[in-house]
Structures are given as structure tokens and as C-alpha cells.
Point group: C2
Chain length 370, copies 2
Amino acid sequence: MAFNFELKHTDKNCRARVGKLTTSHGVVETPVFMPLGTKGAVKTLTPEELKEIGAEIILGNTYHLYLRPGVEVIEEAGGLHRFMHWEGPILTDSGGFQIFSLSETLRVTDQGVEFKSIVDGSLHFLSPESAAKIQEGLGGDIIMVLDECTPHPASRDYVNEAVLRTLDWARRCKKSHKKRRQALFGIVQGGVYPELRRLSAEGTVEMGFPGYAIGGFSVGEPHDLMFEILGPTLEILPLDKPRYLMGVGNSSSLLRAIELGVDMFDCALPTRMARNGGVLTSQGRLNIRNARHVKDFSPLDSNCNCYVCQNYSRAYLRHLHTTGEILAHRLLTWHNLAFIFGLVKRAREAILDDSFKEFRRSLELEFVLE
Amino acid sequence: MAFNFELKHTDKNCRARVGKLTTSHGVVETPVFMPLGTKGAVKTLTPEELKEIGAEIILGNTYHLYLRPGVEVIEEAGGLHRFMHWEGPILTDSGGFQIFSLSETLRVTDQGVEFKSIVDGSLHFLSPESAAKIQEGLGGDIIMVLDECTPHPASRDYVNEAVLRTLDWARRCKKSHKKRRQALFGIVQGGVYPELRRLSAEGTVEMGFPGYAIGGFSVGEPHDLMFEILGPTLEILPLDKPRYLMGVGNSSSLLRAIELGVDMFDCALPTRMARNGGVLTSQGRLNIRNARHVKDFSPLDSNCNCYVCQNYSRAYLRHLHTTGEILAHRLLTWHNLAFIFGLVKRAREAILDDSFKEFRRSLELEFVLE
């Protein structure tokens, strides 16, 4: 089935919206949080568990999958869905972000990016065209243009150059993208410079994409600065297309961004935190390794009814985590994702009820949002 | 409910038997393989998964649980079952084996064993009485006497001394054991010395236990030597009580021991192997890291219908394992346990059919048993 986005309802009192993404692997209600299936697995979890926890769409990282096992293996397996046994929608990124954040000795030219593999140090080259081709091979339902993601801080000149290059790459990605079943999203860059964000947004919208991502945030800039720039940027994007804020997913930012009209999110935070013992709860974050949990037989979050909170105590989870049991990582990941999915689900309900602003305010009073 | 063992059927052509263990946490069909829930979790798996895979009873290691989180925490949690959310039967060992195999600078006297914690090097002392008391605190359905497990090779004099001490400790464990819901099993030691095995078995049987373990095998002695000694030892044990061969669980030994009349097994092999990429299959062992699996889209074992074999390819599992994904450990552990449980289930069916010997022979022809 062809890709489609239907805007179902916009909150009467703010820009928060509820929508429906239709992909050839199923339907996704927005706003949506997409967990990272970095190397072909959402860390520690099976696809069946992801469904049970509430995942509707997951993200695959082109950079990692390109290096290992390689696109050829995934293509021969019948695509990423079959390879990893996930039947729902998948979004793949272009690989650009990881190249810029993980790889060293990279050389960026108008042609593309040269980078060293973090696996074995071998040299690779990614162009806008090959980024599209690789993602066609992976077979995701939503794929992304190659972009140049600038760090923070970065000079205006450097960001300006990156914005222009990203626009050029977007044009070339779009031109070379053949697989019509896949929706290719454009990406807005521009760092913390409002006029560069505007330039990037306008140029990208002009090309016409079925969806728009906003990249280059959550790279070290202050949160408030992000929101100052995010609002006006979103206003440039067409209302009838989905907006995806890349790499942002802590509860507080997620809710603020939803209020501004963002539809899609991804973030390593809930899954990565879990493996370090970090737990998202309605009373704020806690670390399960803390000695105060030694004899705490209460659940992680007494407001949560996920599998983990119904069956395991903090004392047990602390024990598992301090003794290095893999089950600890599974159970904390499960809970953290359940927490985020639950939050986003309540956000959708509040929007449909035209009460998103009150909802967010009430959470800020009731909950301890990070 | 009180502990009970019912011998349901003995194969007409060998000593293999099918029985039923009744415990206060449920019923177990024997022969049975007990996976290790070493530190309060069968590595990587949830209790729900264990049930689905076919586990009927699991083992908890007193040594590890005593050190972390400590008996007090588990008692306050309401016992090991509640602490770890496993509602089925649990057997706990005495801690002796780990003291002798993991701890350094131990001092063994008639009083008990002094040992250094592998966690923090602190000094601890375990007596037959405290071993019983700790296991009462953990709350397993079957608990074990403290024994002195001798290595291989060990001199006759040393093994003789260990046998006499183990008999004395068994007597003291039995005397101090108060919790009648728990069945306390005796342990036969004696290394590779037939006459010491006889001495140990006769002395232990004389005391009268609801079940008997055979310890001190699988510590380095040749397999054939173990079976030479195992047969006559089993003949000394009463037919109406369960026999538990400690620490043995590779497919081939398991089947040979079943033929001699063993009812219970435990072994780290299937779960530990899994984490190293080792896979049990009907065609023999394989290592998933092997490069020949890169594009092998067949299941781990085409004769297996477990969840893993139905949904994942060798290529995918190899990818997960080589990239260090925790999901690899889960899925390989799942399959290996499913393989062992399936084997034991088929063994039970063959015994009921009086065809266990043919069954074992056919497997040795068809399968590649390790």
C-alpha cells in the first residue's frame, strides 16, 4: 500500500495533532515514539514483545546495518522486516548522523562523505545516491535523505554550508530514489540559526517530500534554545505532512514538541538508560543500582501496569542488575519503553479531547519530568 | 503439599524410569532436566518463557544467592519463588559445589567450610546446619545436604576422608532441617573409587532421605569411567526414591544416565554454551559465529519447532551474536533449552513405550550427539 498521512485532529488550544501514517507494513497513530532497532534489533527485545509493549514503528540504523551484516545479506533475506522478524513499519535513517557522530577522519565534499568504519577501520564512501540505494535494499517503509548534521556549537558559516549541501543532497536523493513503496523524507538542518533553519525548511518543502524531519537538535544545545527555533521551523512545514523530530525523546521535550505540532520521535534514551540501570517513572528517574532499593519490594513505578511492574520488585531488579544478569536489561528496557509509549498514548487521547495543554501542565505538576 | 515421588513406569528392557515428583509448587515429570537459575534467574529468560519452553523445575545456587542479594532479602521478599516470580518448583543446592569450585583459600574442617566470597573477598563459614538454614530461608522445594565435592584426580585417602565427612554432614543437615514442606536430599560422593561410592551410597541410604543425588561427577573424569561407577552406585539407591545426577547434562550422557535409572539432571551447558554462540542441534553442535552462517537463512535446527527456529535464521542470529546484541543470548538460550527439554520429553515417551534403548540407539545413529 502506498504511503499516506492523514491529519485526524488538531487540538483546538495548541498545535498538537493526532494523525495516521499508513505504510505497506501497517498503520501508525501519531504522535508516535519510535524505538531504536539500531543493528536489526531493538536492544534486548523480541518483535512480539515490542508489539505487546506498544511499539508501532521502529527505526533501523543504516550506518550499522550497512557495515554489519551488509545490505547484501539483508536483501537476500528478503529485506530488514523478514531478516529481523518484525512485521510492522520500519523507518531507516540515512546513515549520515552516525557517520558524523561515530566515525573519525571523515571528509565531506559535495559528492558525499568518506568515513572510517567503527567496526574495522575500513574506508567507505556514502553519497546521496548510495544512501538512497542502501535504504532501498534494506526495505524500510520510510527512508531518509542523506544530510549533514552539524554539531553544537558550530559557526554560522559552517552551518550555512551544511544547509546548502543538505539541500543539494536531498534533491539528488529524491531524484535517485526508485522504490515507490518507500516514503523518502526530507530533513531540515540549520543548527541554532533561525534564518538557516528557515532557509533549510523552505528549500526542502519546495522539493516536496511526503514527510519532513528536523535534524541537528539534541546535539548539545540548550533545550530552551531548541524550542525557540523549533516552533517557527515547524510553521514553515506543510500541515498535511508528518513532522519527525530526530533524536529527541526525553519525556519533557517530547511533550513540548508535541504541543508545537511534532508527530514522530526517536531516541536512544529509554533503551540505553535501561541498560545502565536508569528507570523512567512517573515520579522521575531512578537508578535501580541505588542501595536504597535493596529491600524495596515495590514495583518500579506504582502508576505503571506493564508486565515488569506487575511481576517484579525493585529489590529483585536491583539484584539482577548488580549481578550483571541479562534479564535486568530486558526488564528495565521493557518498562522504560512501556513508560514512553504510555505517555504518548495519553498525549494522543488528550489531543483528541482538545486538552493537550492541560494534560502537559498536569503532568508537570504531578510527575517529575526529566 | 508434602513432597512425594511416584515411580510410574520402568522400561521393561532397561532401568530407565518415568516418575512424578510432587512438590508444594507443582508436579514434575521425570526424567527431568533442571536449568540453572544460578543467581535467581535462568540466564536471559523470564519465568513465562521458561514455562513456554518446557521447564518444570529450576535450580537456584545457594552460594550465589547467599552472597547476593543475601538470604535476608529473599526471606523478606517471601522466598525465592516470589522474589524471582517463578511459581513452579525450585531445587537449591547446598552451596558446597561452588565453594569448592569457585572460592579460594578455603579451609575444610569437620565443623564446615571457610571460604572467601568471589564478590568481595570477605570470609564466610558454612556448616551443615547453616547450609540447611540458608536453604530454608530461600524456600526451595528440594534442598541439598552440604557435601564435600572432590576434584578429579584426587587420592583415595582424600576422597575417603571427604566421603566420611559428607556422611557426617548429611546426618547433621538432616537433624537440623526443620521446614517439612522442603524435601532434603542426601548426596553420594566417592569420586572414581567404586568402594567409596558404595560406602557413601550405603551410609546415605541408611539415614533415609526422600531423594538421593550423586555428586562429584563431571569434574574432569573420563565419561566412560563415570558410567562404570554410576551403574553400581544407582543399584544401591532405593527404587522408590528419585535419583539426581548433579552437573551432568550433555545430551549423550543424559541419555546414558537415564538408561541406568537416573531421574533428575542439571547442567550449565545448554545455557552457558548459548551465550558463547554454541547451539545444540539434531545434527550436532554448531557455533553460530562461524562465517558459513553469514547467508544461511535456514533455522538453527530444521527438526526443531521452537519459537527461535520458527522465526529466525542462522544468518540473523549470527549477525546478532557477532554484533553483541543481547537478543542473541536470549534466542540461543531459548533454543538450547528447547532442544534439551524436547530430548527429555521424547525419552519419557520412549520409556513409557518400553523402547528407551532403541530410542537412544536410533538417536545415536540419526543425531550427532555430543
